[in-house]
Symmetry: C2
Amino acid sequence: MSVPQRATVVTLGARSVASLRAFYRKIGWHENDGSDDTYTSFTMGSMRLALYPIGLLRQEAAPEGEAVAPGPWNGVTLGINVATRDEVDDAFAAALAAGATAIQSPGEREWGGYSGYFADPEGHIWEATWAPWFTTFE
Amino acid sequence: MSVPQRATVVTLGARSVASLRAFYRKIGWHENDGSDDTYTSFTMGSMRLALYPIGLLRQEAAPEGEAVAPGPWNGVTLGINVATRDEVDDAFAAALAAGATAIQSPGEREWGGYSGYFADPEGHIWEATWAPWFTTFE
């Protein structure tokens, strides 16, 4: 009996799937077949990022009626590692051009890397990251 | 100029990295080298799950002082797809045996699959999922 060490889907509860998916398309991401304004997903390596209406997600994931997090940050970050510092700058600029909010401009980090933080239109935080020990990806 | 379609790290802001990593070890997951009570990560396919103190993560990811989500659910779910319904039951039972909280027992879902939801000790929601169109994994 075990729990597979696996995370195959990260689902973001969306206030508006339509506007969020428009944002992610605008930064250049390709949706999987069957995507619409009630559910969309994007394949990235072994994982899929999904967008689903937060009220419906709550019915499944927090059925006891717990309030949806009201604050501007949900305590989670999503990282996009890249191979060079320049790619951090590039990804950060591309995200902002697509309507992301700048949280922290790219800069050197104490832990030895270089990264910048941006938020999607609903406040999900992404970190475009260069870490010297993690520069190749599937 | 583009944003790579990639999510290489999902970082959960932890109130206690020590107790959360103990939980994830207890469900059978193996930490990457260099893990300690201030930072740990688990490799799963092309993605890493990381645990980092929420106060420190906030300094980077929400430096304007936004409050950390106070509620019991953060609006995000993490899915573990498996190959059979039995594996959903198995993963759900193993998670509970390790101290997870049952949110929804495994059952048939309207979208055509079978899944159960559980929460880690700090309320992050995981869905053990069987979806007939997604049964092979890296």
